[in-house]
Subunit: 145 residues, 2 copies
C-alpha cells in the first residue's frame, strides 16, 4: 500500500521507527516530514498529510504528535479524511471496520513504539464493513455543520 | 458550566448517566439527543453538538458513540471545534492543556461509565496552558487544507 506519514517534533523519532517498520512490511511510504527534530506546529503537518491522502497520492495516512489529539483534529478538518486517534489495536480495527478511516493518529508520548506498530497492523489488516456504516461515513464526507 | 451532550444509539445509556452526573456536579447540561434508543447516524448528532458549542450556547461538548471515533470526526469538521477522542483521564487533561479542546469524545463500547466520568472530571478541571500551544490552536481554527 501507499502510506503517507507525518508528525511534529514530539513524534519525530516514532515517525522514523514507524516509517522503517512500514517499509519493512513492503509498503511504499512517503515521509512528509519534518526532516529535523526542531519544533514545528502539528497543524501544518496534519494538513499536509490530509492533502496527500485526499489527492489519492497515498491510500492511508499516519499522523503523529505528542498525544495524537492535535494532529487528528487537523487531519479531520479535511472532509475527505477520516482520522482515528487510537491508543490500542481494537480501536484501530474498529476505525477501519465502522468508520472507513483513511488515517490513524498516534501519540508518541502516550504509547510505546511496539503498541504503535500493533495499532498500525490492526488498522491495515481490517476492512470497511459497509452496510449500515456506509451512509454514516457518507455523511462525514458531506458535513452539514 | 454550560455543557452540551449528544450521542448515537450505541451510547444512549451512557449519555443519560453522564448527563445526570454532570447535572449532579452543578453544571447546566443541554441533552441534544437522541431521545430514544432507536438507531441513528452519529454524524447528525456530532454536527448538532458542534453547532451548539460553536454558537457559544454551550462552553463544552460531550460527544458519545460506540467507539467515540466516528462522532469525534464529525465534531471536528467544524473549524471552531477541537474534539479529543480519549479513553483515559491523562489524555483528557492534555486535550485541554495543549489543544484547548472544547469537546471530548468517548466510546460507550470501549470504556465503562466510571472511566468516562474520570475523563470528564480531568477534562473539566484542566486549563489551557496557552504559550507555545496558542499559535497551534489558532492554526486549527483556520485550516489551510
Amino acid at each position: 500500500m501507499r502510506i503517507a506519514i507525518a508528525s511534529d517534533h514530539a513524534a519525530f523519532d516514532l515517525k522514523a521507527e514507524l516509517r522503517d517498520y512500514l517499509i519493512g512490511l513492503g509498503h511504499e511510504v512517503a515521509d512528509l516530514g519534518p526532516v529535523t527534530p526542531d519544533r514545528v506546529d502539528y497543524p501544518d503537518y496534519g494538513y499536509k498529510l490530509a492533502d496527500v491522502v485526499a489527492a489519492g497520492t497515498a491510500e492511508f495516512g499516519v499522523a503523529l504528535c505528542g498525544s495524537g489529539i492535535g494532529i487528528a483534529i487537523a487531519v479531520n478538518r479535511h472532509p475527505a479524511l477520516r482520522c482515528a486517534q487510537v491508543a490500542e489495536p481494537y480501536s484501530a480495527r474498529l476505525a477501519r471496520e465502522h468508520n472507513n478511516a483513511n488515517a490513524i493518529a498516534l501519540g508518541a508520548r502516550l504509547i510505546g513504539a511496539d503498541m504503535a506498530k500493533a495499532c498500525l497492523d490492526a488498522f491495515l489488516a481490517a476492512q470497511f464493513q459497509g452496510g449500515r456504516h456506509a451512509g454514516r461515513v457518507d455523511k462525514l464526507t458531506h458535513p452539514t455543520c
